[in-house]
Symmetry: C2
């Protein structure tokens, strides 16, 4: 009787192991061509492909938290049509918001200077929206959320603003700064997830995948 139970348990465990292994092998697709998002997913040990959404996204709200969710969901949805078979698609969008106003990427150097003058010496919010689209057979499940991180800047002199713009770093970034670059010199503190400011809240993503059994890690 005891031997029978142990045999049964062994069979059950083996089946469970296969099931877990199958889940771990799921194909992950990042719907973004941001090198920073790529680096962050790599940082937590995920293996994935990149399929940029392409084209334009549209927002129907001025609320930054809602806007980034809309944009992330649109990016993920575009890629879902092109990806075949079972997969997990990650779409994301990041904006900087000051007093509820969204700051996108600067149009030119003057625009970057204007944004940095607004941000220096005070706090603002960074929102990243994430859409996780999970397809298994004919069943698609979507999880969309956003994370807010507060970022406090030290006061910046006009010389520092000009020097920073000269480095070109602000030009392709929402709010005209990169916290993971030279701008680290001007950040006093943050409250929330740092990686959310860089472009992807990998901690939250990990937890959401785990919670839903979409856990696809190949390393940890």
């Amino acid at each position: 009787m005891i031997i029978h139970d142990i045999t049964r348990l062994t069979v059950l465990l083996a089946a469970k192991k296969d099931e877990i292994k199958k889940k771990m092998m799921k194909r992950i697709i990042l719907a973004s061509q941001s090198p920073r998002r790529k680096e962050l997913l790599e940082q937590v040990g995920l293996k994935f492909e990149i399929l940029p959404a392409g084209g334009e996204e549209r927002i129907t709200t001025k609320d930054p938290a809602l806007a980034v969710r809309e944009l992330a969901a649109q990016k993920a949805a575009k890629v879902l049509g092109r990806a075949k078979g079972d997969c997990l698609i990650i779409g994301a969008d990041t904006v900087v918001a000051l007093d509820g106003q969204i700051l996108g990427k600067p149009a030119d150097e003057e625009d970057a200077a204007r944004m940095l003058r607004m941000l220096q010496g005070r706090s603002h919010s960074v929102y990243t929206g994430v859409a996780l689209l999970h397809r298994e057979g004919d069943c698609v499940t979507e999880a969309v959320f956003s994370e807010e991180t507060r970022v406090a800047f030290y006061p910046m002199t006009e010389e520092e603003i000009r020097g920073y713009i000269k480095s070109k770093e602000p030009m392709d970034k929402a709010g005209a700064y990169g916290i993971q670059g030279l701008a680290a010199a001007f950040v006093e503190k943050i409250s929330g997830d740092y990686n959310n400011v860089v472009g992807l809240p990998v901690g939250r993503i990990w937890q959401e995948l785990k919670k839903r059994g979409w856990f696809c890690d190949q390393t940890l």
Copy 2:
């Protein structure tokens, strides 16, 4: 009269520029062989040399904020004796503290598991102490401070702890984790400076240098 004033102004500005340039050329020495500290100083565009302190440091307190200041000051002081001429020496030390208890680097894998079990599912503090030793002629000025950052971990399963230890990442790090590595998957949020957790509060250092006219940046 106006022309005379403009000429005078031009001369004054040129002198000021030379003075600034001279200040900018100061030799910076990082008294640490941590690759993470090296990366952070490079990130904010500083040019510097590395002269590790070597040997053992001693603390006379169990208070983590005071302990890291003592350790940072001892490291910087050791290097001051070996460096010649005008220079700025940066010494630093980082510890993780849980309920006032200091967690250093893990002794072995079991020790790492013990630390991670303590840290998971709650918040702890990371303290980095910094000593800035500035020598100009025969005058040495020292500025010592510490920064605290609160870090909140998501709950971790025993499987995640084991998987993380298997990656070897915890083994050379205070508190048995690297926020800039795989551990990003387990960090819910922080409050304070992120780079302080990595090993060097570059924002605060920048501000302290600026405030004292020890501003040595060659990029911004």
